[in-house]
């Protein structure tokens, strides 16, 4: 089994929101010593954006960046390449989703974990945090 997961911004943010349905599962992943965690550069913007503009909690910026820094030191924060974005554009057109969402799904070799049931999980492009360990 490939034990490297790719977390999108929603999976990371769910760990910081206790009234999120996937909160406990997201915490379980972030604190699991048997996994390697990674994300996309895009998540830096999305996580901080939600903390500041969504939750109106600028004091969470440091904590959010701390979470991302730990992921960077674990499985890494991946920067998009032209090949990756081309694949993301193809996926976006194929599934009728945004290139932002497709950018996460376009990463190969890592299981994508997301709380986005509407655009990613329902289309088989990602799994919920609670299902991330199942085969």
């Amino acid at each position: 089994m490939n034990d490297t997961l790719l977390l999108d911004a929603s999976a990371i943010l769910a760990a910081l929101k206790t009234d999120e349905p996937q909160h406990e599962a997201a915490v379980g992943l972030l604190t699991d010593e048997a996994l390697t965690l990674s994300t996309l550069e895009l998540a830096r913007y999305e996580v901080v954006n939600v903390a500041v503009c969504g939750w109106r909690k600028p004091e969470l910026v440091t904590a959010s960046l701390g979470v991302l820094e730990r992921i960077a030191n674990d499985g890494g924060i991946l920067a998009p390449s032209d090949v990756h974005l081309t694949r993301a554009a193809e996926l976006a057109a194929l599934h009728g989703i945004s290139v932002y969402d497709a950018a996460y799904a376009a990463v190969t070799g890592r299981r994508l974990v997301s709380c986005d049931e509407r655009d990613l999980v329902s289309k088989g492009l990602a799994v919920l945090p609670a299902d991330a360990r199942s085969n």
Partner: protein
């Protein structure tokens, strides 16, 4: 024992299926690896595998511990819509 013959050598079965890689390193570091192999009574490859496993596991353990501290301190009810929809709602509009 499950073994596989390669040329004139016989290795435990699992080694026959491990990819072979070429690693470059300075002489002084290689000397330290070899000294560790001698001390442990094992091979250079086994020492490097052990170091790689230990480094990855240490990284995971450090991350898990730090995450727990951050979450314990900062996780709270936020109300409003779920995080996936909030991420989408706050993205730049065309």
């Amino acid at each position: 024992m499950n073994a596989i013959a390669t040329g004139s050598s016989v290795y435990p079965g699992i080694l026959g299926f491990m990819p072979k890689v070429m690693v470059s390193m300075p002489d002084d570091l290689l000397a330290k690896v070899d000294a560790e192999a001698d001390r442990a009574g094992t091979s250079r490859s086994a020492v490097l595998r052990g170091f790689a496993e230990a480094a990855i596991q240490q990284r995971r353990t450090d991350r898990a511990r730090a995450m727990k501290e951050i979450i314990d301190e900062f996780a709270a009810p936020r109300g409003g819509e779920n995080v996936a929809e909030l991420v989408k709602a706050l993205r730049p509009k065309p």
